[in-house]
């Protein structure tokens, strides 16, 4: 399997402003002071090997959309945040190369930031495409139709040309979809959210976003530890610090980086991807959170196998 992140930002799309770009350029120039580069490739190599990712790159600002490659003759995508638009453009490229025109979409929940890419999803206008919307919510179709009503968007849902199907899944009941075993777990979030377990050929990927692990209900975390058990990659909502999640931002429906580490450690997961980044965070803020999360894992590791912590960004690909 291959996991490809098209959107990693939480709640609201964000874009870099000029001052953020200017700061990156200034820091790069300082780091390169006195050096000469034969060409752009040599300069790029220096930057990638020397500069922090927050300077050399950017975490991106599209909202939740994660593709999982590895199904039989179908695209697999978790959530239709604003990153879904770019996925759709890339899907056309791959279809031109012979890829099947079947899309299995797995919705964590129906909040705006997780469905806002749908009206801009080009393949929805492909009459030869089949789009299967999988959800734990029985009202998924209603949510998608409602956001394309005239008061919100000029193109109604009924004008879409692809063949749409809606499938509501039962919790904990594995479903075989295009060669992949898919299981859902209910999560604590306004109007509920659902985590997904994707398994194939002895490999597994977890998609668990917009999931608050409340301190009044820590006993329930055993279910998540079981759900995450032995996973090769856990993509986890790590929007806040623990301090924020239990104080100012309690009941906002999100979790923290260190609870994610603890759940993955207890589950024996191999890799954790920090995800659903706080929209007010700069690239430097996200990088600081990333470094702190790795450090927390080190501080508690003792004689356990290391948990690899990575930080998702728009465009990241992770081979499983």
């Amino acid at each position: 399997m291959l996991v490809r992140f098209w959107g990693t930002r939480g709640s609201l799309p964000v874009a870099q402003k000029a001052d953020a770009i200017q700061g990156k350029i200034a820091r790069a120039l300082l780091a390169a002071s006195g050096r000469e580069f034969a060409d752009e490739a040599e300069a790029a190599a220096f930057a990638s090997q020397t500069l922090p990712f927050s300077t050399y790159g950017a975490y991106g600002g599209a909202t939740s959309c994660v593709e999982i490659e590895g199904a039989d003759d179908a695209f697999f995508v978790c959530d239709m945040g604003s990153g879904f638009r770019e996925f759709g453009i890339d899907a056309f490229r791959r279809i031109a190369g012979g890829h099947a025109r079947t899309y299995h979409i797995f919705l964590s929940h129906l909040h705006w930031d997780h469905i806002m890419g749908m009206p801009f999803f080009g393949p929805a206008f492909d009459p030869g495409a089949t789009v299967v919307i999988h959800s734990g919510h029985a009202d998924a179709e209603q949510a998608l139709r409602r956001q394309q009503e005239e008061i919100s968007f000029p193109v109604p849902f009924d004008w879409l040309q692809a063949k749409f199907q809606f499938v509501t899944h039962e919790m904990g009941v594995p479903a075989e979809i295009a060669g992949v075993t898919v299981t859902l777990i209910r999560q604590h979030h306004s109007h509920d959210s659902y985590g997904y377990h994707f398994a194939r050929g002895g490999k597994s990927v977890i998609y668990s976003t917009d999931s608050e692990h409340k301190l009044e209900n820590m006993d329930s975390e055993a279910a998540f530890e079981a759900f995450f058990r032995g996973a090769d990659l856990v993509i986890c909502d790590t929007m806040y610090s623990l301090g924020d999640s239990v104080s100012l931002k309690q009941d906002w429906g999100h979790s923290s980086n260190i609870v994610a580490v603890d759940l993955c450690r207890a589950a024996g997961a191999r890799r954790l991807a920090l995800f659903h980044h706080e929209p007010t965070y700069s690239d430097e803020d996200i990088e600081r959170m990333f470094e702190e999360t790795k450090r927390y894992e080190e501080l508690l590791r003792e004689d356990r196998a290391p948990l690899e912590v990575i930080c998702a960004y728009d465009g990241l690909e992770v081979a499983i």
Binding site: E216, S241, L242, G243, V246, S256, I258, V259, E292, Y296
Partner: protein
Amino acid sequence: MDWTQETAGGRVVGRPMGRVDESTWELFSQHLIAAVRDARSASVPLVVDLAGLDYMSSRGLRALTMAKREAGDTVAITLAAPNDRMREILAISRYDKLFEIADSAGPD
């Protein structure tokens, strides 16, 4: 995780020993809540002396939050003498913004 407690010098001092993790957080939480209630009954603050604690995972930190909620405005809680590892955990979790951290569990 072991816990000892004393009331002296106008304070309740609770002393967890060992580590607080998935297997010990409930016991830690029970002791903490009881200590808050003891401090409230005595109308004194609570000091949690962390000197004997190796580390605390998120479960232990969240138990601290539950204790703080139990305390409300009636009992002041101070975390004292964290080792270097605990001090880092408190900073990473931003619990150093939620609790008063003292270098020593002493009365000064």
